[in-house]
């Protein structure tokens, strides 16, 4: 059954769930299989914490399923990403960081990483990038993750974030510059 459902669009599958058809569970499983990977990655990058990401991820799909039981959805992928985004923002407001950013501590940590890093040490590069990503504001982090982690084109991101493409491009460019500035500030040695 699951194989047969693969030919349906996400919206058609959502319709099956809403109508409580006999295949509604399979339809939900199909939607999950198509969107879960990117959604989980997106949430993980936004939160920077796998535990928090798991909570938001779970809550996203549960909210989506509940919503579908009473309402129809025009753009399923956009809708699910928006649920996740809002859940993240709500969580962020509640858990607003209270610990001030310690500049001195950060520099020590960066120096330590630079000492360890080698040309082929991808894991440390990833760590540096994630660290830089964590310093970004949500509006930059979100578009950067969508563009370079989820590999979505500008039109798709614009649809998910309700932005026009030009504004989006500027924001992505700005996000990348902020990351570069962070890396240059703390890891100048490895760039040069």
């Amino acid at each position: 059954m699951k194989d047969k459902l693969s030919k349906y669009s996400l919206e058609k599958l959502a319709e099956m769930i809403r109508n409580e058809s006999k295949n509604s569970n399979f339809a939900f499983a199909e939607i999950y299989s198509r969107l879960s990977e990117n959604l989980y990655l997106f949430i993980c990058k936004l939160t920077g914490d796998s535990e928090e990401a798991s909570d938001i991820f779970q809550e996203t799909f549960i909210s989506f399923h509940k919503y579908l039981s009473k309402n129809s959805v025009n753009n399923v992928s956009s809708f699910i990403f928006k649920i996740a985004r809002n859940l993240f923002l709500n969580t962020k407001r509640i858990n607003e960081k209270t610990v001030p950013y310690n500049e001195e501590m950060k520099q020590d940590e960066a120096d330590e990483i630079v000492e360890q890093i080698s040309e082929y040490d991808t894991e440390l590069y990833k760590k540096i990038l994630n660290e830089a990503l964590d310093t970004l504001d949500f509006k930059y982090k979100e578009v950067f993750v969508m563009r370079y982690y989820l590999d979505l084109d500008y039109e798709k991101i614009a649809m998910l974030t309700d932005m026009d493409v030009n504004t989006l491009k500027t924001r992505v460019y700005r996000a990348k510059n902020l990351i570069r500035e962070h890396i240059e500030k703390y890891y100048k040695e490895i760039i040069d």
Binding site: Y32, F57, L129, Y148
Partner: protein
């Protein structure tokens, strides 16, 4: 266009060719721009590499579905599986048809190849005999023309010759398998029998040569038998016939009579999530046909090899090959000739195995049943088996069971059967 915009569009693969040339010119002159390109490319590359690090934990997926009260989705490979099963079934069917055609052709349509002198003599009668690997006994003629004691002596000695042939022959089926191995075996058989004939002639003083034996038919058989009888009379000890002590001792050894042997077969469905099984087993050696001929007990005799596919946790099907003794008794010439032989025959076929999961004992002992339909060069073979499969380690199983097999064959428009029953034991490997 600003340099940064050019760079951004270039990285997004959206820069027109003319502007691309402009960018390359600038990159050639501007070291800072080259540095910026390098950093931007590095960031994007690391982001893509980092992407692979994020996999949804299985328990998270399970948690989502359990919270919603929906069955946990499992990879559905039914489509592929159906296709695979279909291909397997077609291959099995093709194999059975091709193999069966070959065996039937070689047995019933090709020219019979005599395996010994007496059998060669009998080809003049153009008789269809399922397996020819030993001497014919015209017991009725003997009863008419000779005393009972002489007849017994002939039978006894003939049985010994057959025993000798049986030991010498791995498979003396002259009608089919023409492997080098069998050719050699047949040669051995011929030599053994010729040696016997010469020996018998020399003892009795008869001028009969092997060539003469070839040219005659049943009269010659009787004359040779008469010589044997004379020999029997002159020499009270069978050792005097020139048979080695080894043959004599092996002749006196009891047959296995269906005792559990050391090799196995197991083609039951594994309760582990495996798809394929291969197995090796030892077959029952007890014949219900009361043959006076001892079976070939070479290490490869009464052994079977199989391969099967698990359709589900309880059902599997597969193919199996075996090399097994089938004791055969039948009559020729309207019942005037009694034939007794115990050839080692190759068989093959398909089977279905059923393992009722509900009967699993302690998680590692699984009862099973199995039915087999196959064929040999002389006719169809049916087998039924039941037993237990014990999980020894990981995907290795020990199968112990009992089996009943029946070979059906036809001689001169009469149907006969050869039945083997007893224990079977073997190993199965699942993967």
């Amino acid at each position: 266009m600003k340099d940064n915009n050019l760079l951004q569009d270039f990285l997004d693969a959206a820069l027109p060719d003319n502007l691309q040339k402009e960018l390359f010119d600038k990159l050639a002159q501007d070291k800072e721009l080259r540095r910026e390109l390098k950093i931007n490319m590095g960031i994007e590359k690391i982001a893509r590499l980092d992407r692979a690090s994020y996999k949804i934990p299985a328990e998270l997926t399970q948690s989502v579905f359990s919270d919603l009260g929906i069955a946990f989705p499992v990879p559905n490979k039914s489509g592929n599986r159906k296709g695979l099963v279909l291909v397997m079934a077609l291959l099995l069917l093709g194999f059975l048809v091709a193999g069966g055609s070959y065996l039937v052709y070689t047995n019933y349509f090709s020219k019979p190849v005599p395996v010994n002198e007496m059998a060669k003599a009998k080809t003049s009668i153009e008789r269809k005999i399922p397996i020819v690997n030993s001497i014919a006994i015209n017991s009725e003629s003997y009863e008419k023309g000779y005393s009972a004691g002489k007849n017994d002596a002939i039978k006894s000695i003939t049985a010994r010759i057959n025993r000798l042939n049986s030991n010498n022959l791995s498979n003396s089926n002259g009608n089919s398998h023409k492997s080098k191995f069998n050719e050699q075996s047949q040669s051995n058989a011929n030599n053994g029998l010729l040696a016997y004939a010469e020996d018998a002639n020399s003892v009795s003083g008869s001028p009969n040569s092997p060539e003469t034996v070839k040219s005659n038919s049943f009269e010659r058989i009787e004359r040779v038998s008469d010589n044997i009888s004379s020999m029997r009379t002159n020499y009270s000890n069978s050792d005097d016939l020139g048979l080695s002590q080894e043959y004599n001792s092996s002749y006196n050894q009891p047959q296995l009579n269906g005792a559990l042997s050391l090799y196995p077969i197991n083609l039951m469905n594994s309760y582990r999530e495996t798809k394929w099984n291969i197995s090796l087993r030892k077959l029952p050696t007890k014949s219900l046909n009361q043959s006076s001929l001892q079976a070939n007990n070479a290490i490869y005799a009464n052994t079977a090899f199989g391969a099967s596919y698990n359709l589900s946790r309880s059902n599997s099907f597969g193919v199996e090959f075996g090399y097994e003794n089938f004791s055969q008794q039948f009559t020729l010439e309207g019942g005037t000739l009694n034939y007794d032989q115990n050839p080692l025959m190759l068989w093959y076929g398909g089977f279905w195995n059923y393992t009722p999961q509900a009967l699993n004992i302690a998680g590692f002992i699984q009862p099973y049943t199995q039915v087999f339909v196959g064929g040999t060069s002389v006719g169809p073979l049916l087998k039924a088996q039941a037993g237990i499969s014990v999980n020894l380690i990981r995907n290795v199983y020990l199968n112990i069971g009992a089996e009943y097999g029946m070979l059906i064959y036809k001689v001169e428009s009469n149907y006969y059967n050869s039945r083997n029953v007893g224990g079977t034991m073997g190993l199965k490997f699942s993967f």
